[in-house]
Symmetry: C2
Subunit: 479 residues, 2 copies
């Protein structure tokens, strides 16, 4: 929230910023600023000297120069739906909150080359719809698609449920424009398929969480619209069986395999409690449920359904699955996905829990979950460890749920914190990452400092120091 008594140098900065951006571009009105000072999970609340909403890259550049002149720290923000508090300022009230939401133009959809050029504030769902209207698709998708912006997705190298075939955001950014700490504009929007003029600066900015530069626009890869898709729901008896099924599907369908998600029976039960209209695709109970998506880029001689039926018939023969259902229509495919997408809110509704977005080498994930879940439940009596998500990427969301009558406010800060440290220790021992797809932000900064490889950390810090020597870009985040 803004202060009533703003110290004079800050007052002079705000006056100049207001003159630069005009009334639509700058506000200090507490009512307008407040909604953006808390992250969407409600875990962090900060303060800001003002909320800036520049209209174009020239304004961002001039604003960043002004910030540099006055030593004002900048917290860039897209849809404010990040999972790690990366877009929330600290509580000093000295930082400027810089929203990119007003820069929301899709400048161009190039159907010949299959790419979209858009500003940082374009919302993911808007991009999906614009691509679909031209018979293309942007393959990355995630739960927060109605609020997440292109700039935020790039800054956090977002993942989601379609990474298996097309990769994270990093793999889909062809060109980038960003404003650096001194206000200079790095402009590489025009994609060159091959360019070896030194190491890739675009890749350096992707995933840097606004600490090296502020993404203002990007050119993104589009793919031809999918001609057909099938969603398969399977019940399996164990996580190693799910992994064996993944290898089987990969061997049979290869690049047509676009999604492979796992959920334990407990998560399906939680979904049914949370969303009474949800109907589980399988009648029986299974230790693990698997959602498989297979797509066809063009309608072939072999229909996709025939291929999927053949794939599952062989999986039955190999005793990889206990039961399976194929989506009979696009509506049913959507209904299968809805169950998967309801797992996170359903799990949150069960009561206090700590969540971890972790990865280990893909082939180690079944053993990791099977080894560590009973270990944690024994070490922290009454807790329940649940893993669900992107098995095909070696990335699960690993929740540890508090014992029945725990009070959220105290449990999270004490027991919850101890559990998170233990989970992160275990992940590190298994050669994994404490942040698979949500980034570090302020949530995991201390844990990264505690557990990160010292050599990698010193490289991250050296690059940060080189490109933002005064530490004005998103301070307190990442490193």
């Amino acid at each position: 929230m803004t202060d009533t008594a703003v110290p004079p140098p800050l007052a002079s900065f705000i006056e100049k910023a207001a003159a630069l951006l005009g009334p639509r571009g700058l506000t200090t009105d507490p009512e307008l600023v407040a909604p953006w000072l808390t992250d969407w999970r409600g875990r962090f609340t900060g303060r800001a000297c003002a909320l800036a909403s520049p209209a174009n890259v020239e304004e961002v550049s001039a604003l960043v120069r002004l910030c540099a002149d006055h030593g004002v720290p900048i917290v860039p923000q897209g849809g404010n739906s990040g999972m790690s508090g990366g877009a929330t300022p600290d509580d000093s009230g000295t930082a400027l909150l810089l929203s990119l939401r007003r820069m929301n133009a899709i400048r161009d959809i190039d159907t010949e080359s299959g790419r979209a050029t858009c500003e940082a504030g374009v919302i993911l769902q808007t991009l999906h719809e614009a691509a679909e209207a031209q018979d293309f698709r942007f393959p990355l998708t995630l739960g927060g698609k109605g609020s997440a912006t292109v700039g935020g997705l790039i800054s956090t190298n977002a993942g989601g449920s379609q990474v298996l075939r097309h990769g994270s955001m990093r793999a889909l950014v062809l060109g980038l424009e960003a404003v650096l700490a001194d206000g200079q504009v790095f402009s590489q929007l025009t994609p060159l398929k091959k360019d070896n003029r030194g190491f890739d600066l675009k890749q350096l900015l992707i995933g840097s969480e606004g600490t090296l530069g502020i993404v203002t626009a990007a050119t993104l890869r589009l793919l031809p619209a999918v001609a057909e898709r099938m969603v398969i729901w399977a019940g399996v008896h164990s996580l190693p069986a799910a992994r064996a099924l993944l290898l089987h599907c990969d061997a049979m369908e290869g690049e047509a395999l676009e999604g492979f998600e796992v959920m334990p029976q407990a998560s399906i039960d939680a979904v049914v409690d949370h969303l009474p209209t949800a109907r589980p695709p399988l009648e029986g109970r299974h230790a693990w449920h698997v959602l498989i998506e297979v797509v066809a880029d063009r309608t072939g001689v072999d229909t996709l359904r025939d291929r999927c039926e053949a794939m599952m018939a062989e999986a039955f023969e190999k005793e990889l699955v206990e039961d399976a259902a194929l989506s009979a229509s696009e509506a049913q495919a959507e209904a299968f996905w809805l169950i998967r997408e309801t797992v996170p809110p359903a799990e949150r509704a069960r009561g206090p829990a700590v969540q971890h977005d972790i990865s280990v080498p893909v082939e180690s994930m079944p053993a990791f979950v099977e080894t560590t879940a009973p270990m944690l439940e024994a070490e922290f009596p009454g807790t329940e460890a649940i893993a669900f998500g992107h098995l095909g990427d070696g990335n699960v969301h690993y929740h540890v749920i508090a014992p029945g009558a725990s009070d959220a406010s105290t449990w999270n800060a004490t027991q919850g914190k101890a559990i998170s440290r233990r989970v992160h220790d275990l992940v590190t021992q298994w050669g994994g990452s404490i942040s698979a797809e949500h980034g570090i932000g302020q949530l995991k900064r201390d844990e990264l400092a505690r557990l990160g490889d010292p050599v990698a950390l010193s490289m991250l810090r050296a690059v940060k120091q080189a490109l933002d020597p005064r530490g004005l870009l998103n301070p307190g985040k990442l490193v």
Copy 2:
């Protein structure tokens, strides 16, 4: 070549390095060092205080520390077949030439996960053969595959003729190990499919030409062996027609399209002169010749030949091609590729010429060549401008051949240099790159400084300064 009178601090360094690496690991014998002091194109020759050939990453690390202690610059070298003099020391004789060739173990081929872990000195062709023996393939390939090493390919982000579908080296590196300027080892060999602990340091090292760290090992992506391939040779009347054919093939075959190379008639004539056994696939003469490669990962119901015939029949109907031939056997497919691969030596045999490895946005390449070739031939009378190569990547090799009786030694240094500057100016005006796939090295460092985006250059320099503050890693290269 090594000096007979080595100054005392250098003598002390060499003594310690010899003790560290043993007789197989260090030599100052001029006869053993000399072959590695000239780049393979013969454009640069330098001197070195010694040639080090460490056996493992621990030795590289200790050696780099020793160099740091004594202020000795290091020039890393793989197969010494780079195109830009990036692995050749300057002529001061103070640098240590650090060969990675002795570190040539393929540590592991993981057939379940489809990846190979190998040391920096593994030769590309050896990797191809090792992958093939396991029914896999490493898709990147290029003319120098018999000498190019994994470490060199990563350091230069090498491209080649199969980038269209699978990307440059950058897209194929899953994990990396490198020794940094202070001797610390950056170790991220175990690949995590998702890892968002900050920006991607691996990507920073790829393409950094040994200026930020010395690649010692890598984990690389392997693909299932190709089940079938077809190579098609087509004659077209213009470069825009070749581009239209590319779009047609892409629409019909999408990800099965792995290669799309163009050559002018003059290059085919040069090949026939140079390699009398070569038989052009088409009887007639065509302004441009196109080589198209289409592969099938598995043998389908529609055979690949049927699909390729249908694709070309439609291309004839649309009047995109004048004539075409499909390879009737694997031997003929190889013969078609041999013609393409003979273009560079055949062009070099025609006499003095300047070569440029350039890219522009893929869709602009036909217009770029059609506009600039006559312009250059008019500005530099008697010259002939020839472009051939990877049209699908927006990357051609652009040769300008000297007038008939020119003397190589004088023409290259005078007229040739002026032409190169002009070509680079034009490429820059068209939004392109003066180095598409060969890197900057020492060959293009001044041109990059002259024409590079000042913002990008200052970022490159800041990162270099941050990670190698004393400038000991491959000095005089890149930036």
